[in-house]
């Protein structure tokens, strides 16, 4: 028996009351029809039946570009002052929750990043169950079960079933308890798995690098290096660091900005030598990071199966073809 059942007609009240716990953000449409996570003032703006947003919620934790340090001759390098507002992010699908859980592991454990941690602490995650679309494959990479949420909302026929995952979530549920009733828990939905699930799991286990696959050349020939695949990836976090002086000739600002391993400059060292000169090499680097892991994330697939990279690639590059070709090759 689930205690926290929210009837459809009470959803608006639930959403509007969330504002008491922080600034409400969720999936909504922009003027030119793009689904994005953004500030939501009333429940009417929310699109809780959305498929996927263009950028994943990582933008709340690691903005596309941010000032990390400010320099002045008097006080040297300083981090920007802390003023994080509490944000309630509503409607995060399990794949995106898995993406945040992965980023948490990278930015909050071994090498804790102060700016990330600060934002993460101010972020409340309210997950939402979803329906698979033509691009996504979360079950293949074990990212279909919700993790790391404060509250998770499971869609049922005439309402929503809410689970809490943290004290923060429990406090919200307790504060809004008047909206809930008891109801039979809805059956959990089918896992979203495809025939290549085993191939992916096996490749990760054996640290398969698909050396000699004809696909590397194919990817390299088609890739426009537009950056979309990693910008839209919930777990891509490579960043570039640059510094710019100000017109006073004294102060300066250091920024960090999302980078992409398919850009030429990603593998360059001083003097111009490039350790990943060709696009083929850069794709292999990308595969290594995405599916096999680097450093502390070694052996951990960071792909959460959201399918954004396939959807936003202008030339339709899909790294899953590596696994597919292997499966077909074996079958044939």
């Amino acid at each position: 028996m689930a205690r926290n059942f929210l009837q459809d007609e009470l959803l608006p009240a639930f959403v509007d009351n969330l504002a008491a716990f922080g600034e409400l953000h969720g999936p909504k449409l922009t003027d030119d029809g793009v689904t994005v996570f953004g500030r939501v003032v009333t429940h009417a703006e929310l699109r809780l039946d959305y498929r996927s947003t263009l950028l994943p919620p990582k933008k709340y934790l690691l903005p596309p570009r941010e000032t990390t340090l400010a320099y002045s001759p008097e006080s040297g390098y300083r981090q920007p002052a802390a003023t994080e507002k509490n944000i309630i992010l509503l409607g995060v699908h399990p794949c995106d929750l898995a993406g945040i859980a992965y980023l948490d592991r990278v930015f909050m454990y071994d090498a804790a990043d102060h700016l990330y941690s600060r934002r993460r602490e101010a972020l409340t995650l309210i997950g939402l169950s979803c329906e698979p679309d033509d691009f996504c494959f979360c079950g293949d990479v074990n990212a279909d079960l919700p993790v790391g949420f404060d509250i998770f909302i499971q869609r049922a026929d005439d309402g929503f079933c809410l689970d809490t995952g943290s004290d923060k979530g429990a406090a919200i549920i307790a504060g809004l308890s008047r909206l809930f009733m008891e109801r039979e828990r809805p059956p959990s939905r089918m896992r979203n798995c495809s025939p290549i699930k085993d191939a992916i799991q096996r490749a990760v286990k054996t640290q398969e690098t698909f050396e000699g696959s004809p696909l590397w050349d194919d990817f390299a020939a088609r890739c426009l290096s537009c950056g979309a695949c990693s910008l839209c990836c919930p777990t891509c976090y490579c960043f570039d660091v640059r510094e710019y002086g100000n017109l006073d000739g004294a102060t300066a600002e250091r920024i960090r900005e999302w980078d992409n391993c398919l850009f030429k400059a990603h593998g360059e060292v001083a003097g111009g030598h490039n350790f990943r000169k060709s696009r083929q090499e850069r794709f292999r680097y990308r595969f290594q990071h995405k599916y096999l892991g680097f450093g502390p994330t070694r052996g951990r697939t960071s792909c959460v199966g959201c399918g954004r990279c396939r959807e936003v690639c202008p030339v339709g590059i899909d790294m899953l073809e590596l696994f597919r070709l292997k499966v077909e090759g074996k079958a044939g």
Partner: protein, 278 residues
């Protein structure tokens, strides 16, 4: 406010600039505050030049310096060009030290063979200073150092002093001779691996440490193996463009290892199978 020296640069003053060649200088930095800067040979720092940004530079000085830090920088990019325009008393920022450094404990009792190409002398100078400071812990010590031409030999006076020492061997080579006189240093002509020809060593008891331009590693590792040095005793200090130094930015991966946190010193045995490592 966090001030751990890993996230936010600590300011240091340029105490001395020593020109080593046309485009390379040794910068001695002194920390403004009473920081004791502890490091291992082979570690690196992220050096900030205000308004220019940050670059990874390996530490060139020995362990005896406490409040100061020696960095050897070639004028090759945007930040190092700015650094070279700076002089005594000007301020730079330092984060670090980062990376693993050379396994100096494990190298004890071994014959030590240092192979440096060009600017690769910087981290090996740090290692050599360390070894000479604890000389009795190590067996035979040899530095082989190759430069492009006589004018490009760095640390000439120091090398002249080292050449007089009886507790180590110094072998120099240049790729080619230029018109001018070769100078006071005895010098072979030929690529660095040519110094290994006929060199008498005890391969099983030797640890080799190599640092130089990318092309150097490929030929040297095979030469060293041919001499019988096991691949796990061949230590390579690799160069990558680390942007963060702490295993986050993901620019410096070598296979599934990060150069900044797992390296920059790697055993040849650990990276020989990795595409693009060398």
């Amino acid at each position: 406010m966090m001030k751990d020296g890993k996230t936010i640069p600590i300011m240091a003053e340029i105490a001395e600039v020593r020109s080593l060649s046309g485009d390379t200088s040794l910068f001695r930095l002194r920390f403004e505050e009473e920081e004791n800067f502890h490091f291992l040979p082979g570690q690196f720092v992220q050096l900030s030049v205000p308004s220019g940004g940050e670059v990874p530079i390996s530490i060139a000085g020995g362990p005896s310096d406490d409040r100061s830090l020696e960095l050897c920088a070639r004028r090759v990019g945007h930040v190092t060009t700015m650094l070279h325009s700076m002089g005594r008393g000007e301020k730079v920022g330092v984060r670090g030290p980062f990376g693993n450094g050379f396994p100096v404990g494990e190298m004890k009792g071994k014959d030590i063979l240092l192979l440096a190409g060009g600017l690769g002398i910087a981290p090996l100078r740090s290692l050599l200073h360390y070894i000479l400071a604890y000389r009795e812990d190590y067996a035979a010590v040899t530095l082989m150092y190759g430069s492009r031409e006589p004018d490009a030999i760095l640390f000439r006076e120091e090398l002249a002093e080292l050449s007089c020492r009886r507790d180590m061997r110094l072998l120099l080579t240049v790729d080619f001779l230029t018109d001018g006189p070769p100078g006071e240093l005895a010098c072979n002509v030929g690529l660095l691996p040519s110094l290994l020809k006929g060199f008498d060593l005890r391969p099983a008891d030797t640890t080799a440490a190599v640092c130089g331009p990318p092309a150097l590693y490929r030929c040297l590792t095979s030469e060293l193996e041919a001499l019988g040095i096991p691949d796990r005793s061949i230590l390579l200090s690799l160069e990558r463009r680390m942007k963060c130094g702490v295993g986050l930015c993901s620019h410096c991966a070598v296979g599934d290892l990060f150069c900044c946190t797992d390296g920059p010193v790697f055993r040849f045995s650990d990276i020989r199978g990795i595409e693009g490592a060398l």
